[in-house]
């Protein structure tokens, strides 16, 4: 599209790219913050290399951060960037193909040296060889300008060059007329002790900003005023999935008036949750870094046996190691939260890439008939509510619960309306009722939930012994009785199916009551929302149904889906939810699967909708 069309858009996609060492993620985070404070809705996508600090200048070492922000409701980081800020040749070439035609490309000229072009496997200089023909190119000697700006403060060359990202950030902030103050504050906090660093980075930030104002780049680099988003009259903040999940767990502890123990072993992309929680003992959350995933879930189970709510967290390979112990938690009927931040597999796979391929494992992945509830988060902010919901289910039914999230929402951030915490209902538990009369039987079960009594050591009324061997349904003693095993098996499945008696009916996110139903789950929410929204605008008979409850499914789902001529199931796996829908509802569905480590592009989902939906009659008539 031409420059005019480009800048008419009410929301924009900006991508920052450079070396792992260039502080790209920081740049992105600061810009995100500024956009939020400017009242823009937004969604981000940090896209860093697998290597901790990949060699400078290499293609695989490029670190990028993409954000879509603006005046519409934003649910994805955007398919194609309108603006690319590339701090070196590699950052330019690996990202070119993503750009919208006519996109603005801002490059640091100084980085396009012979040697660094070679480092990026380039034989010619893309700035001159015409590969940028389709784009508006803005060549700036960022390195030079930065050094100039910081010279007064006597920083070493290394530190001076490190200020580059703030210079570029300053320029972009100017472009979209966004505030520098939050970043300035951050710089002061971060480098507080070192005055020179504070001054230098601030100077770079301001110089970049000033450059935009003063440099006569006219059309190419002009300032654009992005309208504010249609937000509610509440408070907002930006939040990542990792943060939201951690906060949700802590909040749930308060709602259940329960102390919690988070036991985990680091693994990408799950570690961030442990990082966020470490040190928050005062919030009733103790964290324990175990020697491995098995010890992590086992210590969590021990905590639940001892009366604290045990929580464990990992990613696919680590969850695999936990499955034996999960069986024990089911057999002992203990509450337990298992968070799975899914990543691309099989095996080690692509740890930093996202995928939705652990649904089979969550629903079916245990030996024996060992059912348990499974729910999934749809977006960064949604992790807060799903964490609370997972705890609610676990404590209501005295069962382990698996909460599925993934690498994409763990790292991505969105604009999030601050929840009115006092409006959240308390979470009841099955703890012993000291006032209850009658015999104190720890395996007396609530007929509605099959929850047994959550008695813990220290309680004089319930001294009991339990284990992984099949137990008598009443006394809890070891029992090899065949009828008892049948009854226990039935009780265990009833326990999980009874969850459906407490969850809300499945709702329609948007769209028509007939035609094509697009049924999805987890982190694809944003892309599917956008795709269905646009298809609806284009007159297609299509609806969005997004599942939070994976097992059991909401009771009305079957009836709801029966209304539609066709069901489309887009997933970032080979069709795992589709299997579940066939198994539980015996409904046929069209699968749309992508397993390449990337989130869906809105466009891909739209194409799938076009291929399976028809225009509404009246629309066609009108058209």
């Amino acid at each position: 599209m031409n420059s005019k069309e480009l800048w008419q858009k009410t929301s924009h996609v900006v991508r920052f790219a450079g070396d792992s060492g260039d502080g790209i993620q920081l740049q992105g985070a600061q810009f995100t913050n500024a956009s939020a404070l400017s009242g823009h809705d937004l969604a981000t996508f940090p896209d860093f290399p697998a290597e901790i600090r990949a060699p400078a200048g290499t293609r695989f070492g490029v670190s990028a951060f993409q954000i879509q922000f603006g005046g519409d409701r934003i649910t994805t980081p955007g398919d194609a960037p309108d603006v690319l800020v590339a701090l070196n040749p590699a950052a330019l070439v690996v990202n070119l193909s993503r750009l919208t035609s006519g996109a603005l490309v801002i490059v640091d000229e100084s980085a396009f040296t012979e040697q660094r072009l070679r480092r990026a496997d380039l034989n010619s200089n893309p700035l001159d060889d015409g590969s940028l023909a389709d784009y508006q190119v803005c060549r700036v000697d960022i390195a030079h300008h930065t050094l100039e700006a910081v010279k007064p403060f006597g920083l070493g060359t290394k530190d001076s060059q490190r200020c580059k990202n703030f210079w570029a950030l300053g320029l972009i902030l100017w472009m979209f007329d966004q505030p520098r103050e939050p970043t300035a504050d951050w710089i002061r906090k971060r480098f507080g002790k070192d005055e020179a660093l504070v001054a230098g980075n601030l100077a770079a930030l301001n110089a970049g900003h000033a450059y935009g104002e003063t440099a006569e780049l006219g059309a190419i680099l002009s300032q654009h005023n992005i309208p504010q988003a249609p937000l509610l009259a509440v408070e907002y903040r930006t939040i990542t999935g990792g943060e939201a999940l951690a906060l949700g767990l802590i909040a749930a502890g308060e709602l259940a008036d329960t102390e919690m123990m988070f036991c985990s072993y680091p693994i990408t992309p799950a570690s961030s949750i442990l990082h966020h929680l470490a040190g928050l003992e005062d919030a009733g959350m103790t964290t324990f870094q175990a020697e491995d995933e098995i010890a992590a879930i086992c210590s969590a189970i021990g905590a639940s046996f001892a009366g604290k709510l045990g929580i464990t967290s990992s990613s696919g390979p680590g969850i695999a190691l936990k499955t034996e112990a999960l069986g024990l938690a089911v057999a002992a009927e203990l509450p337990l939260i298992v968070v799975n931040s899914q990543r691309a597999g099989p095996s080690t796979g692509m740890p930093t890439k996202t995928e939705q391929s652990d649904l089979y494992q969550a629903v079916y992945g245990r030996n024996a008939d060992t059912p348990l509830p499974v729910i999934a988060s749809r977006s960064p902010g949604d992790c807060f509510d799903t964490a609370i919901e997972a705890v609610r289910i676990s404590l209501r039914h005295m069962t382990p619960v698996i909460l599925l999230t993934d690498g994409y929402i763990a790292n991505a951030s969105e604009l999030w309306p601050l929840p009115d915490f006092d409006s959240y209902l308390p979470i009841p538990t099955a703890r012993p009722d000291p006032n209850a009369s009658g015999p104190k039987r720890v395996f007396a079960r609530n007929p509605a939930t099959q929850a047994r009594v959550w008695a813990a050591p220290g309680d004089v009324d319930y001294v009991y012994r339990v284990g992984g061997i099949e137990k008598d349904i009443d006394t809890g003693n070891i029992s090899y009785e065949s009828d008892n095993h049948q009854q226990m098996t039935d009780m265990r499945s009833r326990k999980v199916t009874s969850v459906a008696d407490f969850i809300p009916d499945q709702i329609l996110e948007q769209g028509s009551e007939r035609g094509l139903a697009v049924v999805a789950w987890g982190s694809t929410y944003g892309a599917v929302f956008q795709a269905v929204k646009e298809a609806l605008r284009e007159g297609y008979a299509v609806a969005q149904i997004h599942l939070r409850y994976i097992n059991p499914l909401p009771k009305n789902l079957g009836a709801l889906l029966a209304q539609y001529e066709r069901v489309l199931v887009p997933e970032l796996n080979t069709g795992q939810l589709a299997t579940l829908l066939r198994d539980k509802l015996l409904i046929d569905c069209v699968q749309h699967n992508q397993v390449n480590g990337q989130p869906f592009a809105v466009e891909d989902v739209k194409q799938a909708i076009y291929a399976n939906a028809s225009k509404r009659m009246k629309e066609v008539g009108n058209g």
Binding site: I294, S304, K308
Partner: protein, 330 residues
């Protein structure tokens, strides 16, 4: 609860080990130890893995958790960290604790979690019908080693030294006099207590401990370690252990013979890890070291572990929610 009998600690469950199994006498010693200490069953938890030995918690009238194979130390760590006020015991076997469970045992020991770990060493997998275990001696014939095992066995106590254990003891199943005292010493120790109990599996590894447990041979084939006391043994306690400072090895000598006087005999220092290594790795015909071989002060993990009752949590949650720049559209 002053006047308690060891019978008060027996549960209502029928004990189901083979007649003559060494586990019976260990169970009795456990009941005794609890009674001697006047333990409160309400605040006592027995956690075990899987194996004949691991059935023990069902037979003790306290809280009990019979878990999964090899994971008892990890689960017990969770129990203890969740509620440090509890008296937590771990029951495991040579297979449960040192084969599949080796890693969790290692980390419990190095962290020094306040657990009382009893490892029943019968040098065999009992419950699965007699396969050789990581403590089985070279050449052990079993269904999985018909020509005799050729895995070098691990020595539990020596492994514990390597893991940095702060309390290491070794005892014989049938020692009703000594065992309860050792169990309680482990119970009160600050940190992980590791107690290896030499247990007789009468069905699959009968009398593997004959030498150290039979009246006839015990005196000459075992030495009881008592802190500050010379390491003497033998019927008339004339035999003793001497350190050869050149070869850095231990040798058995006889007081009164070849000019050996009592002053040549090693005096047991339970705080010295090197001596623990020496004593626990003594090869036959040297006597087997029994009793509290090693005990040294050290901070227990669960005491440093920050365990707080949350106060004013609701306010704190609200603060955390706002820990970030906030856009106010109200």
């Amino acid at each position: 609860m002053a006047e308690v009998s060891f019978k008060d600690y027996a549960s209502d469950q029928e004990v189901r080990w083979c007649p003559g199994c060494g586990d019976y006498s260990i169970l009795k010693a456990v009941h005794r130890a609890l009674a001697d200490a006047g333990s409160d069953p309400v605040n006592t938890v027995f956690v075990s893995g899987i194996g004949c030995s691991s059935r023990l918690p069902y037979y003790v009238n306290t809280y009990g958790f019979h878990t999964i194979h090899g994971r008892a130390p990890a689960i017990a760590t969770g129990v203890k960290l969740a509620n440090p006020a509890l008296d937590v015991w771990v029951i495991t076997g040579d297979g449960d604790g040192l084969s599949i469970g080796g890693n969790h045992l290692l980390h419990a020991l190095r962290r020094n979690v306040n657990l009382n770990i009893l490892l029943f060493n019968n040098e065999i997998y009992g419950l699965t019908k007699g396969q050789y275990s990581p403590t089985s001696r070279l050449g052990t014939r079993s269904p999985t080693s018909p020509k005799g095992s050729f895995d070098q066995p691990v020595t539990p106590g020596v492994f514990a030294v390597g893991a940095g254990a702060t309390f290491i003891a070794r005892a014989v199943d049938i020692d009703q006099k000594g065992l309860p005292g050792i169990l309680n010493a482990g119970r009160v120790h600050e940190g992980t207590a590791f107690i290896e109990i030499l247990q007789n599996c009468i069905v699959y590894n009968e009398d593997v401990w004959e030498l150290v447990s039979s009246k006839k041979t015990a005196a000459d084939s075992t030495v009881h370690c008592v802190h500050g006391q010379p390491l003497l043994f033998g019927k008339d306690r004339k035999r003793g252990l001497r350190l050869n400072t050149k070869s850095l090895t231990i040798e058995a000598v006889t007081v009164g013979e070849a000019g050996v006087t009592e002053s040549d005999i090693l005096v047991h220092d339970e705080t010295n890890t090197t001596l623990a290594h020496l004593l626990l790795s003594m090869p036959a015909p040297l006597p087997m070291a029994l009793g509290i071989v090693h005990r040294r002060p050290g901070e227990a993990f669960d005491t440093t572990f920050r365990n707080r009752k949350p106060e004013g949590r609701r306010a704190l949650v609200k603060d955390l929610l706002r820990k970030s720049n906030v856009l106010d559209r109200r």
